[in-house]
Symmetry: C2
Subunit: 346 residues, 2 copies
DNA sequence: CTGAAAGCGCTTACAG
DNA sequence: CTGAAAGCGCTTACAG
């Protein structure tokens, strides 16, 4: 089988506007107008549309983009699309973009700040109309196209920054654990956090410190332990083990993520202790199986769908109204889901 | 502030090849050759490259695509990018495509067979060079561009079909539970499966039936229960409750997914019974927290990364060698991870 | 080695 | 209402 034959088979001749125009006996200009719904004679329109349908014509979006100087592409850049948090956010955003006629270009930075810039340049080369960007710390300036940053805040940059209410969320968690007016009244509370220099990590640590100080609760250095940069469950286990080895282990732990919580619970169980009887656990992130764990996890409500829809809508709005030159700061409010790992419901 | 000003701000003038050519005092043809590394005088090349760098020139990929009749776009179509299984597969595939210079276009079919066709047409309109496609049942014929189907097999279609070894995987699970030569020797084994008419659901059911028959174990109708089409944990709980309500409840359960397993375990615990002492559970899918559950989950090894890399590599290979006209059938082998939910390690 | 020209597939003023 | 022409930003035969 010759290479030419293979070639032919692999790329069947594509129907172009020129094809339908000549078949319908009109100019390409008229064919274009008929198909796009511009002013054209009723009979002509019908004929063109019928021909287009018969030939199976589909406009070449690349040519349209080049000509219209509007690509209808939107770039999505995330540190790791394999991570549930980003996967669910992107799914929701993709949905909104899809319905608005935008195609989503996806790039993964593999948790590398350097890749932030590489991905950005690639997206600009593809003439994306805008970006939705979860930076991993490699971006400080505003990109030349409309951009909504999320997850990690890039202060003053982009057209909007959308992030969780990290401080408020931690305050809710600490409040539930510590306040006597509430359910529990723990005072030996530890924190398992992430050492990353990103908003989501830093603000949660600060939030914990503030929440403890506001209640005049002691913040012991050895009660502040860190997992690894991947937020891995294994590192959560290690962190909890350090806590359990203390002379005075904590009675309650705030985990900065579901993965840390999972790891911490394992450490407690393996030490022959029980959650929440011996150590209570609450988590910043909830998971789809939070209600299926033993014990069920007390955590903040998962709102990745909301975040995804919000960032997509904000970008579309920017397209519509133009860039204001200012960077909107948006925080998605936190909400506590009380289940059992905190000690509630016995 | 006038709209013209906004316009200007939102779209800074882009540097084109024409700009660098005139700045460097050469024709666009020469500038193009210099930048692409085609034959060009050494001095000229240096000058063009320097100018391009100084001006911050980046080629317009859309124009390149249109001219070269090769888009360097690859389409990824999945039922739900928000689902961990697809998220991790796509992450690995994206990685391979990225390194090969391809941009990934992502579409979600939201678990709708109709959307399979819609997504396919959108991808073709964007002139993707090829596709990696987890159909939801809406595709039966080969698309006109190189395509690797995965997860759900589309018999005879595309250039390759990559799927889990569903039957073999279930055989491993049933074998571990049933064989006396192995650890356990259960004979009252039930199955919680998915009612979907897709490969992953159907083949697992068939595999279970075969594995049971091969051991001359009884397959009772009331031991075959189905969760919902979303593979939700809740439906796993409901299915397990039906099993527990039987006169003779099973001693072991094979769950077709991690989510069903999770739901089933919850049902057992809420009934005041224990896993694995009263009912053993094994799962087809493992999860990232399988080793962090109580009890730890016995399941098949998660190999989404392998699948993702495989499908991406196969597509790149098809690009290189042309389409053969045949559809390669590939099954990714299953491997059992023995933990505690089956009754092992006490 | 280099330039002028054609063309990828469209859209959109500009005429008529 | 319709057509001829220009042009989006490139690449690549075709000449010289």
């Amino acid at each position: 089988m010759s290479s030419a034959v293979l070639q032919e088979r692999s790329r069947p001749a594509t129907i172009t506007l020129h094809d339908v125009a000549s078949e319908a006996g009109v100019s390409v200009a008229t064919a274009s107008r008929a198909i796009r719904g511009d002013a054209v004679g009723a009979a002509t329109r019908a004929r063109v549309l019928a021909t287009a349908k018969r030939l199976g014509y589909a406009p070449n979006r690349l040519a349209q983009s080049l000509r219209a100087q509007q690509s209808m592409f939107v770039g999505v850049i995330v540190p790791d699309i394999g991570h549930g948090l980003f996967a669910r956010t992107v799914a929701a955003a993709q949905d909104v973009f899809d319905r608005a006629g935008y195609q989503v270009l996806l790039m993964n930075t593999r948790r590398s700040p350097e890749q932030d810039g590489v991905a950005l340049r690639a997206m600009l080369s593809t003439n994306v109309d805008g970006l939705v960007f979860a930076s991993y710390g490699g971006i400080t300036a505003s990109p030349p196209v409309p951009t909504i940053f999320f997850d990690t805040v890039v202060p003053g940059a982009g057209d909007a920054n959308v992030a969780f209410s990290n401080r408020e969320g931690i305050e809710l968690l600490v409040g539930h654990l510590a306040d006597r007016s509430g359910a529990h009244g723990y005072n030996r509370i530890a924190y398992i956090g992430s050492p990353l220099p990103l908003t989501s990590a830093v603000e949660r640590i600060e939030g914990f410190l503030e929440a403890m100080r506001a209640r005049a609760l002691p913040v012991r250095d050895d009660y502040m332990v860190m997992g690894d940069e991947l937020w891995s469950p294994e590192s959560g286990t290690a962190a909890m083990n350090r806590l359990l080895a203390l002379d005075e282990p904590p009675h309650a732990v705030v985990a900065a993520s579901d993965t840390f919580a999972l790891g911490a619970i394992q450490a407690i169980v393996q030490a022959g202790l029980r959650v929440p009887e011996d150590v209570a656990i609450v988590s910043f992130d909830d998971t789809y199986f939070g209600g299926f764990m033993e014990p069920q996890l007390t955590a903040l409500k998962a709102i990745h769908g909301t975040v995804g829809r919000t960032i997509a809508s904000l970008l579309l709005q920017t397209f519509e109204h133009g860039r204001s030159g200012e960077s909107l700061q948006i925080r998605v409010p936190a909400e506590l889901i009380v289940r059992h790992s905190c000690g509630c419901h016995g």
